[in-house]
Every structure is written in structure tokens, then in C-alpha cells.
Symmetry: C2
Subunit: 344 residues, 2 copies
């Protein structure tokens, strides 16, 4: 009856993403991890350091350095807010602000703790755009212009969609999408989890995604206040708030922060807040490792999605026959080193 704790749930989760191939055992069914580990070098895409935010926090209570690395999204998504964030970083505006909120199963958020008080608020740099709500959805990016990796064979039949699905999943129902929040979900060819319908394409709120805090509509936020998802995907926020990127390294430094005891997880005292030492573009950080993600156009990514939807191996006895877009984290690794992907 006794069993190894190390074996427990072992096959269920994504292990470290290494550069080398997995140990070969011809008799063993592959896991998603095996597929990622065996991906060819050409299937990995380098992330430009110009698209990385590097956020340094003070060392933790044990003296360990804390650094969070965020990848910003490419066009056609949220470029108005992302332009603002680049200006804020250039002005070093984020340096000295703080993590102001940690709400369990929801978000960790950083911004100006004095933002509410006009006399004390940190002035924003000039030239920030006021981005309209219409930019929550990339309405001009037609699905036919942008083939998607979707976990549904039925997707190919969509009128106006010239792209063929590269991933066939044994869905319980192949003819229709199986997502509560959108007609279709998948991954953009640029590597991002998205949803789409006839109105356009939009990024989705998965674990580790970074969004722009805002006030009540019609405010859309500037980008000076950001949050990261640390729980069940709050997909109801899709199309209601801007997403600008995802954490690719160091999310543990945010997700383990003590939860705030005020309403919505805001910290009630200054002493509880974690200060942000600095936020820099990756291109300005000496010694930053190079990062790459597994191309969502690659054959290995297609096989990885399929295996995530159909686990059947020494651990799994019942394949799900489907997978949620937020349970398909895009693998990311340091080049020439071992790191963790976002998620499991």
C-alpha cells in the first residue's frame, strides 16, 4: 500500500524543460514533457530582449534574489498599452513603486500605493496614450489572416478560415468548440493563448498572464498598474481588460506573496507591501539569459497539445479527450540552460 511520494502525480505535471532529448524507452508512451524535451532546436523561437520586462524585487527573507521576467505580446494585441509600458520603463517610473495586492486564486498586482491621493501620487510621464476599449479585441486581425493551432478538428470548417488545424484532438465532440467563454480558442502563430469569434481575436486570461489594472469603464488603464493571474483562469475578464504579456520566469516570487487582508486582497499597511526595486527592458539588463519558446507552429507543439488532451500512460488511465487552452502553457526555456515553463 505504501508508495513513493516522488511518484505521486509525477506524470501529471510538466517537468523541467531541458535542452536534450528524453531518455528513450521504446515501450513507454510519451508524456507532454517528453515531447517538449525532444523538440528540435529549430522548433524553438528566440524571444527578443526588447520584448522582455525584468522586474527586480528585494531579496526574500532568506536572502535569495527575486527577479520576475515578463514577455510582452506582439501585434496585433494591446499595442497601445504596451507602448505606454515601454515609456514608463524608459522613464524608470516603476522603480520604487510596490506590490499592493495579493488575492488568493486571483491576482497579484503592483502600482503606485499613493495613486489614489492626487497630492502624493507619482506623476506619470507625458505622452501616454488613452487606449479605447475597442482595443481589447484585435478586430482587424481576421482569423483567415492568422492560422491557429486549435484543439478541435471542427475548426477547419469555419467559414472564412483559411488556416488548417494542425492539431487533431480526440474531442468528445469534434464538431463544436468546448470552451465556456468563446467560440474558438487556440494559440496564435506568434505563441499566445487566444480566443476568437466573428468579432475578432483576443488574448485570454490564463495563469501567469499579465494585465493592465484599471478603474471603472470607460477607463482602460495606462499600464502603470499591472497584475498577474495566480489562480484559476478568470476568463470573464477577457475583452474587459487589457492583457499585455506573461511571466516567463520567477512567477513563484509573486504567487507565494502573503495574501492581503484588506478587501480584494489589498495590503492594509505599507509594511506589508513588497517594493519594486526596478523594471528594465531585457535589452538593458547585463547578463540576462536568452529565452526561447516552443514555436506554436512546430510539429512538436502540435504533438504536445495532443498529448495534453489525451494522457494515457503509466499514471493516466482515462484520457480526457480534450484540453482547456489554459492547460496548454507554451513551454519557455533559457537557452543553453534548464528552466521552468510557466505552469505545469
Amino acid at each position: 500500500m505504501r508508495h513513493s511520494p516522488v511518484a505521486v502525480l509525477a506524470v501529471a505535471s510538466l517537468a523541467l524543460v531541458g535542452a536534450g532529448p528524453p531518455p528513450v524507452d521504446a515501450g513507454k508512451p510519451l508524456t507532454p514533457n517528453d515531447i517538449v524535451a525532444a523538440a528540435a532546436p529549430a522548433e524553438w523561437t528566440r524571444i527578443s530582449p526588447e520584448d522582455l520586462l525584468v522586474m527586480d524585487l528585494p531579496p526574500d527573507t532568506k536572502g535569495r534574489a527575486r527577479r520576475v521576467v515578463i514577455q510582452l505580446m506582439p501585434a496585433p494585441f494591446s499595442q497601445g498599452w504596451i507602448g505606454n509600458i515601454r515609456k514608463l520603463v524608459a522613464a524608470r517610473w516603476f522603480d520604487g513603486i510596490a506590490v499592493v495586492r495579493a488575492q488568493d486564486n486571483y491576482v497579484v498586482q503592483w502600482g503606485d500605493p499613493d495613486g489614489e491621493d492626487p497630492n502624493k501620487a507619482k506623476p506619470l510621464p507625458k505622452g501616454l496614450r488613452v487606449v479605447p476599449e475597442s482595443e481589447y479585441v484585435a478586430a482587424n486581425a481576421k482569423v483567415s489572416d492568422m492560422p491557429f493551432e486549435v484543439p478541435l478538428a471542427g475548426h477547419a470548417a469555419r467559414p472564412g478560415n483559411a488556416g488548417k488545424p494542425r492539431v487533431a484532438v480526440r474531442s468528445l465532440d469534434r464538431s463544436l468548440p468546448r470552451d465556456s467563454y468563446a467560440s474558438f480558442t487556440g494559440h496564435s502563430t506568434s505563441g499566445w493563448p487566444v480566443a476568437f469569434d466573428s468579432a475578432g481575436i483576443w488574448p485570454v486570461h490564463c495563469y501567469g498572464m499579465v494585465g493592465v489594472g484599471r478603474g471603472l469603464s470607460p477607463d482602460t488603464g495606462t499600464g502603470a498598474e499591472l497584475y498577474v493571474v495566480i489562480g484559476q483562469a478568470p476568463r470573464q475578464l477577457d475583452r474587459n481588460i487589457a492583457l499585455v504579456g506573461r511571466v516567463i520566469e520567477g512567477i513563484e516570487d509573486l504567487s507565494t506573496m502573503p495574501r492581503g487582508t484588506g478587501p480584494l486582497g489589498f495590503y492594509e499597511t505599507a509594511a506589508e507591501r513588497t517594493p519594486i526595486l526596478s523594471v528594465r527592458m531585457g535589452s538593458g539588463v547585463a547578463g540576462l539569459p536568452a529565452y526561447e519558446y516552443l514555436s506554436t507552429e512546430s510539429a512538436s507543439f502540435a504533438a504536445y497539445v495532443d498529448k495534453r488532451a489525451n494522457r494515457k500512460d503509466d499514471f493516466y488511465i482515462q484520457p480526457a479527450g480534450g484540453v482547456d487552452v489554459c492547460n496548454v502553457p507554451v513551454p519557455v526555456r533559457r537557452v543553453g540552460a534548464v528552466t521552468r515553463p510557466v505552469g505545469k
Copy 2:
């Protein structure tokens, strides 16, 4: 351009569940929180202390007491494992074991750190059942015997289902379920998130759900090693591993634990593990508050599900038109006091 940090994402998340009605503003659309706060006393169901596990951990680094309260599931779900857990608690077997694993966006797990070593492993009490894999699904519980709250109007048309859906949601497609992992999802009348198809009914892996660690198939675990979900719902584990309950209070004490640096988030040294002081049934804990959950058969729960699927208020501009079963946490509160529900 500047806005209140307190307002940011304010309407998006479930606030404290208080006993009183919300402030009334006739012109304002209700939020899910408003609906829960206004539920009638008779809509709340008391949780028997016989169905609660109370797990005490040592105080945190700031001297704050840490207590995790877990509600066990009722029949027809997982009763073989739950019977074992009751025996383990009666034998005080959990006292002195430890949290051995914390993997980001996945699980926190506790068990015998020496379980791997036959010479050092803590002996299990006699009389534990070896539960077969077939019990992952309650195959004998027909849907027709058990009406469900489902967020889909199409559910009523299911052959053999005598129950009428109490919750109508403006789904993007009313005729079919919108879940990647099961034909149908909803909440059992006993208050639990479930999925079902022609094979039977099974509980699902949402945030805060507690499951039974195990080795490779055909092992199903005894219940001596337990985990709690602390990230995106790992629904691929449904029907592959036993779920036995959910955390109703104190999940923050687990979800914020430092992540283990070993494979799968296991702690690499004994010093990193958090010891478990004791686990007792709620009926044996002096001074334990009474807890109750919002009945999933109540009108307020139906309205709450509907509102979760269709947010449109001062914050939300685009209702989703649907909701994932794991984004409908069943509200739980202390009787006569204010507490937090599981989730948001």
C-alpha cells in the same frame, strides 16, 4: 488618467461573504457578491463538523496561527478513501507528518516524508481499504437520480435526465455543453462541482479541491497522502485520481508556501518542509466555528451562477455568456461571522 488602485478589478472578484444584505442601490446591476450577500438564511446549509478535517500547522514566521479546514465529500463520491481518511485521523496518523511538496500552479501535498523508505516509513493503521480505480466515478449514481444545476439550457434535453436545469445561462451555444473535459458539468445538489456523462458522475479538480496522492496505476492511494489544487484546474486528473474534499478556510496558508526546488516541487531538505501538528475531525475540535455553504439548490445559487456567466455592470462591458464550472466556487461562510469563500 490616474485611478484608484482600490477600484482596480474591484467588481471582478468575490468579496467577503457577510451575513447581511448588500447596500441597496436600485439603479445598480447586481454582482455575484451582491447576490450571495442577499441570500436568505434558509438558503444556507450547515456543514456537519463530522465532515470537517481541521489541520493545524505551526505558526508562521510572524507568529500567526495557521489552520486549514477541509470539507469531505458526501456519498456517492470517493467514500472508500474518505473512510480511510477517517481511520487515519482517528489513529492520529497525520500528526507529525509534513507538507512535502509545493509545485507552482499545481498542487501542495502532504504525507510521510519517509514513506519511500520501508525501514523508516510511519506504519499505517490496520483496516484501510484498497479502493479500486472504478470508484473514481460514481457509476451507479444515475443523472436521473440526481438533478444538477448546470449552466446550460440544453442539459434538460438529455435522455434519462429527469431533473430540470435551474440555471439558464446565455451561452454562446445553448444546445451543447462547453467544457473540454466532459459531456456535462455542473453542481451536485449536495453542493459539489461535478462532471458527468453516460458512464456516471465524478467530482472535478477545481482550485481548492483535495485529492489522494497515489503511485502508478493500479495504485489508487490510501488517503494517507493528500494534495490540494493551487492553480489552474488540472482537469486532466479527473477520473484518474480520487478527490475527497475541498478547503473551505485557510487555503492561503498552503497556496503561499515556498515552492519546492526539487522535481515536481518536492522539497529537497527536511528543513523546508512544514510539519503538520495535528489533523482532527471538526467534531473533536473545541471552539470550532460552524460553517455553512450556499445551497446549490437555492434560487440565490442559480442567480449567482447566472451572474457569474453574464457580468455587465460598472466594471464589465462584455458579458462572457458562459462560465467554467471551476469559476463558480460554492460560497462558504462561518455562521454569524464573516469569512472568505474558496476562490473569488
